[in-house]
């Protein structure tokens, strides 16, 4: 949008130009009736000054008080009153300046036509101002609205990314606490993994997408930590088509799904659990598939697609405005989560 200062001065110039043109036309017109150029010019200037003042007044009024829907009649009354005032001004000022009987008669006879011309000019000004200012208002509102929406969206995306389970953090710290006692080197390694992972989650911004390779290496940190925690019970398989390696996706989109799979898998069976992650290229979509074993008989009833997954769904919805990018299947004791990330080529 243009700088308001700039539009304001432009408006002023247009207004002045209008007044000058109006005064010249009027002068020419009055001269046409056989009066001297001097008389004609004063007539034109005085008339334009009065009309200009009236227009300025109504314009200023409308700038600060946008009329409601029912109050157009007020504007009409205002226009009539201002036109009346202008005409009245001419009626008294002009004969006062020029003490000329013929001219005074001319002024008195032309009062009706002067009134209507003034009324039309003021009405036109009122209309233009009304449209102009309501449009400005609307633009301002729209801008505010989009800004508010963007802020809300950013905040929500931020929150969704931060849904890292505190549980994970505390349990990891507990594992480190255990390792410090008898395997200090591993404790140190785990601290590094944990800090790398946390740093990765902190600096990521949704608008900056990452490549699948980057996302997978970040995920690997998470998996390594979980493997230390659960020991031999947790195994992972990651396979990624060559074509997918440079695909882009929102950062940290895979982690909650894998976290969900691990939790679901590990807490639903007592055996060793293999969580598998597959990335495939499918017709301009990057398809990511995460699978974990589960026991359909004892699985706790899960609302919707599960807590972690609903966050992912919401994120995909905010980023791509689509609800069909995530799906889950459960069969043969295997729970599968599939997400599709549209790729722009």
């Amino acid at each position: 949008m243009a700088n308001p200062q700039f539009t304001f001065s432009k408006l002023r110039i247009a207004f002045l130009t209008g007044a000058v043109v109006w005064a010249s036309l009027l002068t020419y017109l009055v001269h046409g009736f056989g009066f001297s150029w001097f008389i004609a010019a004063t007539d034109g200037v005085i008339n334009s000054l009065l009309l200009g003042a009236a227009c300025w007044l109504i314009n200023n009024n409308l700038r600060y008080f946008q009329p409601g829907k029912g109050s157009y009649i007020n504007i009409f009354v205002w226009c009539v009153a201002l036109a009346g005032a202008c005409t009245f001004g001419c009626r008294w000022i002009l004969p006062f300046i020029h003490n000329n009987q013929v001219y005074s008669n001319f002024v008195a006879q032309s009062l009706i036509i002067r009134f209507f011309t003034d009324f039309l000019a003021i009405g036109w000004m009122a209309m233009i101002s009304m449209i102009w200012y309501s449009q400005l208002d609307q633009k301002e509102n729209e801008k505010r609205k989009t800004e508010a929406e963007k802020l809300a969206r950013d905040a929500e995306l931020y929150n969704l990314r931060q849904q890292l389970q505190p549980h994970f953090l505390f349990n990891s710290l507990n594992s480190i606490n255990a390792l410090i006692g008898f395997k200090p080197d591993e404790a140190r390694k785990m601290i590094h993994q944990l800090s790398d992972f946390l740093r990765g989650t902190l600096k990521k911004d949704d608008q900056q997408q990452v490549t699948l390779t980057e996302e997978l290496s970040h995920l690997q940190l998470y998996l390594d930590i979980e493997k230390v925690r659960f020991g031999h019970r947790l195994m992972t398989e990651i396979s990624c088509d060559k074509k997918c390696q440079d695909c882009i996706l929102p950062p940290m989109i895979l982690q909650p799904i894998v976290e969900n799979a691990i939790k679901f898998g590990l807490y639903d069976t007592t055996d060793a659990v293999t969580v598998s992650i597959r990335a495939e290229w499918d017709d301009n979509y990057l398809t990511l598939m995460v699978q974990n074993p589960y026991d359909p008989k004892t699985a706790r009833p899960r609302k919707g697609t599960g807590f972690g997954l609903s966050g992912v769904q919401r994120r995909l919805n905010l980023l791509y405005a689509r609800n069909d990018l995530i799906e889950t299947h459960a069969n043969d004791n295997i729970f599968t989560t599939i997400i599709k990330i549209p790729q722009i080529i």
């Binding site: 507990n174 807490y267 007592t270 009833p301």
Partner: protein, 247 residues
């Protein structure tokens, strides 16, 4: 000498407890370590320990569910990274609960608290703990029962009706019925009241399983369930049922 058992699904978490227990070599003997609630349950019945260190989030059945199945539960020290507010309710009833990761000082305090207790105190405390634990909302989605030596997890969705049976409640499902050492009023309070209605002093039925309600003698009715079971409905039970069904 007190005897203790460690129940936690994370090996490293047990390691910490073991290490910290070194300081109590003369007071506490470690009987063993268990990977999950099933192993824990077996080991408790077998060894009858005085104290267990128990994690809450474990595979298949959680710490509370395991405790429910133990006949003479020992004293409990929770070791967990569970949400603090969720466990707050049990704070006063467990010997203590340790938020992972916990320091050696904090651990020592918990164990000293346990050692200072008389057996009678300990028993009473554990009983209150069990009552409180079963009130937690997480426990209302499924019912964990023991059949012989096996543990059976019944999702609430599979329950058809509940019947009072002496000091127990018999949980009826399609696959059979299981005894649970709880009271009818416990289930009346904890089960979702829009799904389950206590229609009789001795019966709680699931509304969506009702196929028909017939009049039966004076003031009484009989509810016929999908499975064909006929459940008596008392006068007050009928009023409650009508309320929930909105008729």
């Amino acid at each position: 000498m007190k005897r203790a058992l460690l129940i936690d699904d994370e090996p490293l978490a047990r390691m910490v407890v073991l290490e910290y227990l070194q300081g109590f070599k003369d007071e506490i003997e470690v009987l063993g370590e268990c990977n999950d609630g099933f192993e824990g349950l077996k080991a408790i019945q077998q060894h009858q320990p005085d104290l267990i260190f128990l994690d809450v989030q474990m595979p298949k059945i959680n710490g509370f569910e395991m405790l429910e199945l133990v006949e003479n539960p020992p004293s409990v020290i929770f070791t967990t990274a569970f949400d603090e507010y969720a466990i707050k309710a049990f704070e006063t009833h467990a010997v203590d609960y340790l938020m992972k990761p916990f320091s050696k000082d904090r651990f020592n305090k918990a164990v000293e608290k346990f050692l200072a207790q008389t057996p009678a105190q300990a028993k009473k405390q554990t009983e209150t703990l069990l009552d409180t634990a079963s009130q937690s909302p997480a426990q209302h989605e499924r019912i964990v029962v023991k059949t012989g030596t096996k543990v059976k997890i019944i999702p609430v969705a599979d329950v058809e009706y509940l019947e009072a049976d002496d000091d127990y409640v018999s949980v009826h499902t399609k696959e059979g019925s299981y005894l649970k050492n709880k009271t009818m009023s416990f289930f009346e309070q904890t089960l979702d009241s829009t799904q389950f209605v206590r229609v009789h002093r001795s019966f709680i039925i699931k509304i969506q399983d009702i196929t028909r309600i017939d009049p039966y003698e004076k003031d009484a009715h009989l509810a016929i369930l999908k499975s064909g079971a006929k459940i008596p409905v008392s006068k007050t039970g009928y009023v409650k049922l009508k309320q929930v069904l909105g008729i």
